[in-house]
């Protein structure tokens, strides 16, 4: 593979991440678990610290200057996010705690409180993360709607003939991940959204593993709703986004009642605020929003096309090197361009948990377990996987360390 002209200057980037100086069991940290949560650059940490040090106040309430600064920071971050995913306006951007909360807001406000009834159907896929399964289970239990799931083929691609078969006039929602957190498969969202719209259904996209890793343009995809998390894209934990077309958001009922989300309150009745604030009941997380804004600035300065190219390079090298291990089973597409920057695998000698424990002793952090995708594990016929995932601070040397670590695992369990 070509390693002469890297897309990102990883050595320089790494210097921005204070945690990369940490030693784990006396060894330099080799962090290969960004699909679970990414590390944070100094620029993000400082933005959060700066918020608390210089302009902390409650947003949208305080009349004084400090409050206006805080509101400007919070709403400014919303503008940045809108621009980052090419939303039409910042009123399409709802701040949430993360992808899970975003999808739950839809399942409640559109599903449980909506016009759905018996005979209606929601279509999803077998490769979803639990956060794009369970909220729809709630809707199923409350409204008696039928759920169905698009299957995958042997390579880990969605069976598109299932999409044609399952999406019918009864379908009201197609909820699908843009990039599987286990298989890495990148799904054809544009095509799926088009199919959903043909039957007047909505299309919701779980973008937790896509927005952090490659350019996402919501207008181009033409999805109706899209959810992602700040902490997987260099931002703080506890802040996330629900994008929704304005009309779709307007028709949804709010999930959280309280301050901020109201227009008028009388005893026993109230009217709601405009979107997006209608969905932001309670004091929000402006420091988190500002931190996420800083993360977006950081990613934009690298260029999302370059981030994507970098991860394809790591995929190619990772698939090549892991593929040499005897007996290894790699999940998902073998084409590095067709998957997000992650590789889940099993080896015959050791359980993923034991793999992760031994790698930890070598300073290498990977995910092991069912990856919050138990239905997919069942579908693949395995209880768990080991997963290495890549981001802007990873280099081919990290993959070399992973391979060496796996050799140690094989020695221990030989």
């Amino acid at each position: 593979m070509e390693r002469t002209k890297p897309s990102l200057d990883v050595a320089k980037i790494k210097k921005d991440f204070p945690i990369m100086e940490r030693k784990i069991h006396g060894k330099p940290l080799c962090y290969l678990d960004s699909a679970a949560t990414s590390q944070k650059p100094r620029q993000v940490i400082e933005a959060v610290s700066e918020f608390y040090s210089n302009y902390n106040a409650n947003v949208h309430r305080a009349i004084y200057e400090l409050g206006e600064d805080a509101t400007r920071g919070y709403e400014g971050a919303r503008e940045k996010i809108a621009h980052f995913i090419n939303a039409r306006s910042s009123s399409e951007i709802v701040f949430t705690r993360g992808t899970t909360e975003s999808i739950n807001i839809v399942a409640y406000g559109w599903g449980i409180k909506g016009k759905l009834g018996k005979g209606d159907e929601i279509v999803s896929t077998v490769m979803e993360h639990h956060s794009n399964h369970i909220p729809w289970f709630f809707v199923q239990d409350y409204k008696g709607v039928k759920l169905s799931w698009i299957d995958i083929d042997d390579e880990g691609y969605l069976k598109m003939e299932d999409l044609d078969r399952l999406v019918t006039e009864r379908t009201k929602m197609v909820a699908v991940t843009q990039c599987s957190n286990v298989l890495g498969t990148i799904n054809p969202i544009k095509e799926i959204a088009k199919k959903a719209h043909e039957v007047n259904a909505l299309c919701l996209v779980d973008a937790a593993q896509s927005v952090p890793h490659f350019p996402v343009d919501v207008q181009n995809l033409d999805c109706d709703l899209l959810a992602f998390s700040g902490h997987k894209m260099l931002g703080p934990t506890g802040i996330g986004v629900l994008y929704g077309k304005e009309k779709v958001l307007e028709e949804m009922e709010p999930m959280l009642g309280g301050g901020e989300m109201i227009r008028e309150v009388h005893l026993g009745r109230a009217t709601w605020n405009d979107v997006p604030w209608k969905f932001e009941g309670g004091t929000p997380d402006p420091a988190g929003a500002v931190g996420l804004g800083a993360a977006i600035d950081y990613l934009s300065s690298l260029g999302m096309q370059n981030v994507r190219k970098h991860e394809i390079e790591l995929n190619a090298y990772g698939l090549e090197m892991l593929g040499k291990i005897k007996g290894i089973r790699i999940l998902g597409p073998m084409d590095p361009k067709k998957r997000g920057g992650l590789i889940a695998f099993t080896i015959p000698e050791a359980h993923p948990h034991d793999i992760a424990a031994i790698l930890d002793a070598e300073g290498i952090a990977i995910r092991s377990g069912h990856n919050c995708a138990q239905p997919l594990m069942e579908r693949c016929g395995i209880p768990a996987t080991a997963r290495a995932s890549f981001y802007v601070y990873n280099s081919p040397e990290d993959i070399d360390r992973l391979i060496k670590g796996l050799k140690k695992v094989q020695e221990v369990f030989a």
Binding site: H351, H353, D354, I358, S368, G369, A384
Partner: protein, 133 residues
């Protein structure tokens, strides 16, 4: 910590589990699951009229710690009285394994005991139900 965890006896029980297999005519049995890593374990017990455990088997899949713990526990149980088995506490399991365990791996280590207690408790439940009738 990891290398100390994978000592010879742990690996030996993992690779060559004792008392592994199903027991269709078990007097007591229970299954449990560790959602963290997908460790899955079923323990089967055969008892005589005096309440002595005459045979033990286990099935399941999971990490080396959970499976070796199950293997070692089944060895410990044979010939014990049910009331004695009920008295086995987590410390005993940790001593039996004899390896350093983080809080996370402790759950893997103790899954066997959890399943055993569930199996022993299931009898009490069924007895209580019988008495009600």
């Amino acid at each position: 910590m990891a290398y100390e965890m994978y000592q010879e006896q742990i690996l030996d029980h993992y690779k060559h589990p004792r008392n592994r297999g199903e027991m269709p005519d078990a007097d007591l049995q229970a299954r449990d699951y560790n959602p963290l890593c997908g460790d899955d374990l079923t323990i089967y017990l055969k008892t005589d009229e005096k309440g002595t455990i005459t045979d033990v088997k286990f099935t399941g899949q999971g990490c080396a710690i959970s499976q070796s713990s199950a293997s070692m526990l089944t060895m410990m149980l044979k010939g014990k009285n049910i009331s004695e088995a009920k008295g086995i506490d987590p410390d005993r399991i940790v001593k039996m394994l004899g390896i350093p365990l983080s809080a996370v791996r402790l759950k893997c280590a103790l899954l066997s005991l959890q399943v055993l207690k569930k199996a022993l408790f299931s009898k009490e439940l069924s007895q209580a139900e019988t008495m009600k009738e």
